[in-house]
């Protein structure tokens, strides 16, 4: 079979205080991960509206990952707890609608966990790549 591997598009929402800093640390330590991952900086994981996640899928993202401070370490004390409930509910709903559950993920990455950030992204990209193109959620009009 002559199918070139699909290059996935991954949107990563990272909270400013922990995970974004963790991503920076991964950079400082030159811990590679695929360029398919594009990071959007948000103040806190609780800023991520389900709308943003769905919007990303609509526009052609193949996977969406939300990264925040570890529970208990939120810069705003409780933001990631709300995010945890919201995303648990949203992702469970997407799963219920038959969207592949490997396309969504929540991961807690601290500012010191550059290695975890890189490993998480490598793993996530690999899993999403295996799933291939996200056909179940995207808006066909958005594609070129």
């Amino acid at each position: 079979m002559q199918i070139t591997e699909h290059k996935p598009l991954i949107v990563a929402f990272c909270c400013n205080w922990c995970s974004y800093a963790g991503a920076d640390l991964a950079g400082n330590n030159r811990l590679n991960y695929p360029a398919d991952v594009k990071i959007i900086r948000v103040p806190c994981s609780c800023r991520v509206n389900p709308m943003f996640v769905l919007r990303a899928f609509q526009k052609g993202a193949d996977g969406v990952i939300i990264c925040g401070c570890h529970p208990g370490d939120c810069h705003y004390t409780s933001g990631n707890y709300y995010a945890r409930r919201r995303m648990a509910m949203l992702f469970s709903m997407l799963d219920y609608l038959g969207i592949e559950r490997e396309r969504t993920r929540v991961e807690w990455v601290s500012a010191a966990e550059g290695a975890k950030f890189s490993a998480t992204m490598n793993d996530f990209v690999e899993k999403v790549t295996k799933l291939g193109k996200n056909k179940r959620l995207e808006d066909l009009r958005c594609k070129k």
Binding site: P50, M51, L54, R55, F57, Q58, P71, G72, S78, Y81, Y82, R84, R85, R86, M87, A88, M89, L90, F91, S92, M93, L94, D95, Y96, L97, G98, I99, E100, R101, T104, R105, V106, R136, L137, E138, D139, L140, R141
Partner: protein
């Protein structure tokens, strides 16, 4: 249980109007046919006596109308609440959507409401419908009479009634009922047990029927936003018609998410849907997840409840484990 009659309600309403307890009566009004009943604000005794009705077709949840009517009308409004409506009533109060002082609520019993669409499947041309003990007797235009059993023609939302108990009222007519055991999560569990492909097929086929008429939203007592995000050009997700399969899903996912933790499972969405999409299965999925992961929660049990999505515990389940638990 003694069935409450239209006359009893009219008598009560007239009494409260005449002694100036209330100035308006929010109730159900007769339509052209026995089954097309509309919510209506009665202002006088005459209209009440002529047009007020309480029958097996009064499925409409009146709570939501209080949001607009208490603001529009100056006086106190009498509203009749079936058990399931009282949950919505409380939830709206929790969210400060209307002024309790302006409402006089009367709890009334409900034996389950009927779905005219289900009746129509059995025959053509209804001339009249008569309630019987076991269900209804339908007389058709060609002078036939068909008897239908109640269970078969109940509204979807009434088939799995969660409660005959009223959680809010100033006055109760008839006997108080109990919270019922029910199987309302069975269908959700059935879907959960399917493969992802099967679930996708199911929802794709259901949601593709959506014509974006907004009936679900307009009937929903939790959807009382001053301006809905789907009507707001600045929201970034405004749209008026389901141009493609994504937007069908987007609309229903966002709507379900917006009411998650606030939905009382009154079932108005599915009742209102002209396409018969089982929308309540989306809301119930959230309710089931919430019950399983964050502890039993029923929205609208009391005023001032803190909803599950505006609460947390430090020990909450991780999103990845929500999937695992479902297995």
């Amino acid at each position: 249980m003694q069935k409450i009659t239209t006359d009893a309600l009219v008598q009560k309403a007239v009494e409260l109007l005449n002694n100036n307890t209330v100035s308006y009566v929010l109730g159900w009004k007769k339509g052209e046919f026995d089954y097309d009943i509309t919510p209506y604000v009665f202002k006088d005794e005459k209209t009440l006596k002529e047009e007020f009705i309480y029958s097996d077709f009064c499925g409409v949840n009146l709570s939501k109308y209080l949001v607009a009517k208490t603001k529009e009308l100056a006086g106190k409004i009498l509203v009749f609440l079936k058990p399931c409506d009282t949950y919505s009533f409380n939830q709206l109060l929790t969210e400060h959507r209307f002024n309790r002082e302006k409402v006089y609520a009367i709890g009334i019993p409900c034996e389950g409401m009927l779905d005219i669409d289900k009746i129509k499947l059995n025959l053509e041309g209804i001339s009249s419908i008569v309630e019987t003990k076991e269900g209804v007797k339908v007389n058709t235009l060609d002078d036939k009479t068909i008897e239908l059993e109640k269970q078969a023609i109940l509204l979807e939302k009434c088939k799995n009634c969660k409660s005959k108990k009223h959680y809010a009222y100033d006055e109760l007519l008839g006997e108080e009922g109990d919270v019922l055991d029910n199987n309302r999560f069975d269908e959700v569990a059935k879907l959960e047990s399917m493969t992802a492909e099967e679930r996708f097929e199911f929802w794709q086929s259901q949601l593709s029927k959506c014509i974006r008429c907004n009936a679900c939203r307009d009937a929903c007592p939790a959807c009382t936003c001053e301006k809905c995000v789907f009507d707001n050009p600045n929201s970034g997700i405004e749209n008026k018609s389901p141009a493609n399969s994504f937007e069908e899903k987007l609309f229903h996912i966002i709507r379900a998410f917006h009411v998650a933790g606030r939905c009382t499972d009154c079932g108005e969405c599915s009742r209102a849907c002209p396409q018969n999409i089982p929308l309540h299965l989306l809301n119930r999925k959230f309710i089931k997840d919430i019950n399983e992961h964050y502890g039993e929660f029923q929205a609208g049990l009391e005023v001032g409840q803190r909803g599950p999505l505006v609460s947390y515990t430090t020990e909450d389940v991780e999103p990845s484990d929500v999937f695992n638990k479902g297995e």
